[in-house]
Symmetry: C2
Subunit: 120 residues, 2 copies
């Protein structure tokens, strides 16, 4: 079974995660057969490992991790691959893969442009 | 004249800003009559004040600042309003306003869901 993890940075303020919760809800409404978990790099739970564990328990065999970041800096170029590799070693029976950051996607950028245009 | 500032967090790795540069280019291609500047909270230039100054020089009288953040945590709830207010006091002839974070926009979240779905 395929599953998805939406992976964010995390922040001290618990309200920071609200759009992530909405994102996961939106995913689950539209993709009922593909379980989703959030995961955070720091300051919020669950961790990537905890999210992989939860999806493994649900029967996931292929998990795509989507970094919900705009830019690809040190976190995504260094910390994230190491985390992903550690999870892969811990769950050898799950095929883990990752996309680029969502900020690399033209449709995401276009939605931001359109959001700005509406506000003018 | 109206103008827009796309306001991001900033990061140490200069490659982090690549999607922001693409975002500004996309905006300018589609909204030729509305100048755009990027601005960053920390670790990258220009600052919000420098971006307001640049747009002021170009003749902007109304500037909408769009926080290109997913969540609204301490940076957007505390640091950003203080920065914006300081800029407003420094440029009293410019009408400065701000939108919510782009992560609050349903179309942005939908674009992220669609990006994830394509990757499965």
């Amino acid at each position: 079974m395929k599953a998805i993890i939406l992976f964010g940075h995390g922040a001290r303020d618990p309200r920071w995660r609200e759009p992530f919760d909405r994102l996961a809800k939106l995913w689950q409404e539209q993709h009922q057969n593909t379980p989703v978990e959030l995961a955070f790099l720091e300051m919020m739970q669950p961790s990537l490992e905890e999210a992989v564990s939860a999806l493994s328990t649900q029967g996931a065999t292929q998990i795509t991790v989507v970094p919900v970041f705009f830019g690809q800096g040190g976190h995504l170029r260094n910390d994230f691959p190491a985390l992903l590799e550690a999870c892969q070693q811990q769950y050898p029976n799950i095929k883990l893969s990752a996309t680029s950051a969502v900020g690399e996607d033209l449709a995401v950028l276009q939605a931001i442009v359109d959001f700005g245009a509406k506000a003018l």
